[in-house]
């Protein structure tokens, strides 16, 4: 590297930089204030973790509640957790449940 190269590098370092005009930070902050903030945009990761934890606790509580009465309703555990009615031969062939409109017009 020659002396000329070093001088050129120094020149670029010393004279290459520029600045924005005065009040740049004010202009940025005006734009930041104009940014739309929806509730979902304002959620941070810790907020989301708290929300997810609460949702999980609620889901587990609902599942336990559903399971607690499953034996009286002849439901399997899975049906109880998912909140499904027990599947029986009667429920399968129940014409009113299959075609409510048709059964109404027949009556």
């Amino acid at each position: 590297m020659t002396e000329h190269d070093l001088q050129l590098e120094q020149l670029l370092r010393d004279k290459g930089r520029s600045n924005f005009g005065p009040g740049f930070a004010d202009r940025v902050m005006r734009r930041v204030e104009e940014e739309p903030v929806g509730w979902i945009d304002s959620l941070t990761l810790p907020d989301f973790v708290r929300f997810a934890a609460a949702a999980l606790v609620l889901a587990v509580a609902l599942a336990v509640f559903s399971l607690s009465g499953s034996s009286e309703r002849s439901q399997t555990a899975l049906e109880a957790v998912l909140g499904l009615d027990p599947v029986t031969a009667t429920s399968i062939y129940d014409a009113q449940a299959l075609m409510p409109a048709a059964s109404e017009s027949a009556s």
Partner: protein
């Protein structure tokens, strides 16, 4: 940083004031001074504001902001080129295109006695990919690996582009180097 992430605008303003110089050096180095550079500079910080929740702090903030700045500047240069291409016939496209671009932004009329303006005008006459390397490596002072990472190229590419750019700048700035003026 944590306060800004929690939505504290005063803390965010401090970040803007701290790093506006680094963003300005990149954006103005790439685009030249003026309203467009100011708009792009603002956009850099607005995008950072939007992505604060995702910024994990693994990268240095200056590097992160400079990466946004260089990408937005290159996008703006592409937009300008598309605009110019509509009106100017370019017969010199391709690999054999000259390294130095014709001055299209009034830089040919820069007062040669004004060293700062001359240096900036000379840098802006480089092709965008060479200009980006000079701005990041020589003016901003990032190392070769960081520059390569920001531009998504290999370090060897940074070095070869820098070498070619410096060769191209020599005649453009010969008067100022020989004079050793301020």
């Amino acid at each position: 940083m944590r306060q800004a992430r929690d939505g504290d605008e005063r803390a965010f303003r401090e970040i803007v004031e701290t790093y506006e110089g680094a963003v300005a050096a990149t954006v103005i180095g790439m685009l030249g001074p003026g309203g467009t550079a100011d708009d792009v500079g603002q956009e850099v910080f607005v995008r950072f504001w939007r992505s604060l929740g995702n910024f994990r702090g693994d990268a240095a903030l200056k590097t992160y902001l400079t990466r946004i700045a260089i990408n937005l500047s290159l996008n703006e240069l592409k937009r300008r080129k598309r605009f110019l291409d509509r009106f100017i016939s370019r017969d010199r496209e391709g690999d054999d295109a000259p390294l130095i671009e014709p001055a299209t932004d009034g830089t040919a009329t820069v007062d040669r006695r004004d060293t700062r303006a001359s240096v900036q005008a000379a840098v802006r006459r480089l092709k965008p990919e060479h200009r980006a390397v000079v701005v990041l490596r020589m003016i901003e002072g990032h190392d070769t690996n960081t520059t390569a990472e920001m531009l998504d190229v290999r370090p060897g590419t940074v070095m070869s582009r820098l070498s070619r750019a410096m060769q191209a700048l020599k005649p453009l700035l010969a008067d100022h180097v020989e004079k050793g003026d301020d």
